[in-house]
């Protein structure tokens, strides 16, 4: 009668003040991932208070937000970015924390490398000073983003003060249509429940459509749980999960592997478990999604049009839509397929894994980006993803089609390095946030799947990828 979330919660409970569901609990943290932007202040305070990390081997660090995606051997140009990356290096060296440095083949976006290394395992609590930590929930673990003060708290105590969330199950049943991916499920869910729909909840994704997703797809989905307001998203452990983990560097081996697998097999919601809220979607009805506004809930399908605020009764909502359309420079009722693009970005912790790159490459193979596209970027999620893609010849397909093939990092997902949109530029992006200025001040972001981004690159405007002869 327990949900997966209940099981994970109970397993990690160190202390509670009372049995009251609303009281603060002390949760033990198994894996602490760290990056350069949200950790420096935590390390500084830790030192000032004369404290040391509680368990150094629970920590894995990597610089991803600020690192350049070209000319890496010349180092980081921007002195402020460089200082942040150097500070991470120094802190890790001083405290003996494992870090994949910028020139390490294993370096990449923190949410890509954790699973890739097997550092994210089922049944763990995983935290990181980054909201997209929800990604790791794909492995049947409890994973969520924390703020800098909490990073310090976990460093110092290996625990976190937390309140139990309510539970929500999102069931997607059936078979996805041609060209419809985990990204489209994620956007369709957010379109349905809204960006605050999951606030206060931990979401479990279930149903036959979810079970047939690869681990990459499940990660894409859980990654976007935070965009639905839920701190944590998760998927139960099954053969796909265990298959993925087997043989990864940080994964258990031999005897321990068998013991671990036996435990992992229990990580699913019991058949009679009750959720505070349940939502069901029919996979066959989900169409490729494109956002038109400045929040991921402002989304429609590739066959749709930009909505008209005049049809919205709620005054605050209408006002938000008007503001979004003004920022996006879009007119109500414009068909999505007629929206012309300036730039294409394939990357981010949502969609930069090998499967994402394969899907995009399939679309652009033997084709070329439209002459109106000023820049099309592919930024692999990690050095190892990049290496694998190159082994498969995907880099050549991208480059022949007019894409730039870059070094791994967050890149134009949030434009903290040099990859960004200029004012007024419009981008089809595989990232997770279309907030104002996210990809560069005045830049306009439309969120889509990798295959949809690749198709848009070819046509210069949005187009239904299922018409591209994909498998």
């Amino acid at each position: 009668m327990y949900t997966l979330y209940d099981k994970l919660w109970n397993q990690h409970l160190v202390h509670t003040e009372s049995n009251d569901a609303d009281s603060m609990a002390l949760l033990y943290i198994d894996r602490h991932l760290i990056h350069e932007v949200t950790s420096p202040q935590a390390f500084e305070s830790l030192k000032l208070a004369g404290r040391k990390p509680w368990r150094v081997n629970s920590i894995l660090a990597v610089a991803d937000h600020n690192v350049p995606t070209t000319g890496r051997n010349q180092g980081i140009n921007d002195p402020v970015s460089r200082l942040q990356v150097d500070t991470l290096d120094e802190n890790c060296e001083e405290l003996g924390i494992t870090e994949f440095k910028m020139h390490d083949m294993r370096q990449g976006i923190v949410h890509v490398i954790g699973p890739e290394q097997g550092a994210t395992l089922p049944g763990m609590t995983v935290v990181c000073g980054d909201s997209h930590t929800s990604t790791h929930g794909a492995f049947g673990c409890l994973a969520f983003g924390i703020g800098t003060s909490e990073v310090e708290h976990v460093l110092a105590t290996q625990c976190l003060l937390a309140k139990k969330s309510r539970t929500m199950r999102i069931v997607v049943e059936g078979k996805l249509g041609l060209g419809v991916t985990a990204k489209d499920i994620a956007l369709a869910v957010i379109g349905k429940i809204g960006t605050a729909g999951g606030t206060g909840y931990a979401i479990e994704f279930a149903g036959s459509a979810i079970q047939s997703l690869s681990m990459e797809g499940r990660m894409t989905l859980c990654n976007m749980a935070i965009e639905a307001g839920a701190r944590a998203g998760m998927v139960a452990v099954d053969d796909t999960t265990i298959e993925y983990i087997k043989g990864r560097p940080f994964a258990p081996q031999g005897d321990l592997w068998d013991r671990a697998v036996a435990y992992w097999r229990t990580l699913h919601s019991d058949a009679d478990a009750e959720f505070d809220k349940s939502i069901t979607l029919n996979a066959a009805e989900i169409r490729p999604q494109v956002t038109w506004g400045t929040s991921p809930e402002m989304v429609t399908t590739i066959d749709g049009c930009v909505p008209d605020p005049a049809n919205v009764a709620d005054q605050i909502k209408r006002h938000d839509m008007e503001q979004a359309l003004k920022y996006m420079d879009l007119q109500p009722n414009t068909p999505i397929q007629s929206i012309m693009l300036d730039k294409i970005f394939i990357g981010s912790c949502t969609n930069s894994r090998i499967e994402d790159l394969r899907a995009a490459a399939e679309v652009i193979r033997d084709r070329h980006i439209a002459p109106t596209i000023k820049l099309a970027l592919v930024v692999p999620g990690s050095g190892l993803v990049k290496q694998q893609a190159e082994k498969e010849g995907l880099d050549k397909i991208f480059v022949a089609a007019g894409f730039e093939w870059r070094e791994p990092g967050c890149s134009m997902c949030l434009a903290m390095n040099d990859d960004r949109l200029s004012r007024g530029e419009r981008c089809a992006s595989t990232s997770n946030r279309n907030f104002e200025g996210r990809q560069g001040p005045g830049g306009r972001t439309h969120l889509v799947s990798p295959a949809m981004a690749a198709a848009a690159a070819v046509e210069g405007h949005f187009v239904d990828v299922s018409k591209f002869g994909i498998s």
Binding site: Q41, A156, P252, W257, D320
Partner: protein, 212 residues
């Protein structure tokens, strides 16, 4: 952390839903390795007409005369009224740091994003959840009255209007205790160090693969 004391402050209205942390403090300012100095870049994209970068002298920049916080009547505001899902988006604690550094002590909204809500308490900024009907009324009154102020009494969990009218609010007991006493919650957690060690030992036996 400073103790949270009862105070009376000017209220500023930000009548937008889904105000995200990228809007509260744009990412170019996250490159700092400090906790302070973010206030001058709070809402940077909305507040200034030019594009801001770290290290710029903000006194030389052109303010957006239409942005609400730039109106003279809200200059000394320490209480912010907001709408649904305030603080959504990234986990950056720089957002509450920026609000606090600017001078805000309290944010009032019908709902907050979870991580942002948590982060506020950690630094002594108080997020208050109020029902929409109370907020609508506050928005109306603030717009109508220049210099509109509220008294925030955390001990008794009430907002007090200048007319004497009380609006009660709820707050988690533990968090209230920490705010009122300015407590460092790492210190509090470390009081349970023995329990943490015992737990760890048990897990080490049951799931040794987590500790290699």
């Amino acid at each position: 952390m400073e103790k949270f004391q009862t105070f009376t402050g000017v209220v500023a209205p930000l009548d937008r839903a889904n105000v995200d942390t990228d809007a509260i403090i744009p990412k170019q300012f996250l490159k700092s390795i400090k906790r302070t100095g973010f206030g001058q870049n709070l809402f940077d994209e909305w507040r200034y007409l030019d594009h801001g970068e770290p290290g710029m002298d903000v006194s030389q920049r052109q303010l957006n005369p239409d942005f609400i916080l730039n109106l003279p009547r809200y200059q000394s505001a320490s209480i912010l009224l907001a709408r649904d899902n305030f603080g959504c988006g990234s986990s950056r604690e720089h957002a509450p740091w920026a609000l606090q550094d600017y001078g805000f002590k309290v944010i009032i909204a019908p709902s907050f994003a979870d991580i942002f809500f948590n982060n506020c308490f950690k630094i002594g900024l108080l997020p208050i959840v109020l029902e929409v009907k109370f907020l609508d009324q506050l928005f109306r009154e603030v717009n109508q009255t220049e210099g509109y102020a509220l008294t925030v009494n955390l001990q008794d969990q009430v907002l007090i209007k200048s007319t004497g009218e009380h609006i009660p609010f709820t707050v988690d007991t533990f968090r209230k205790h920490c705010l009122l006493n300015g407590l460092d919650d790492i210190g509090l957690t470390l009081q349970h160090a023995e329990k943490i060690k015992a737990y760890e030992q048990k897990r080490r036996e049951q799931q040794p693969w987590l500790f290699v």
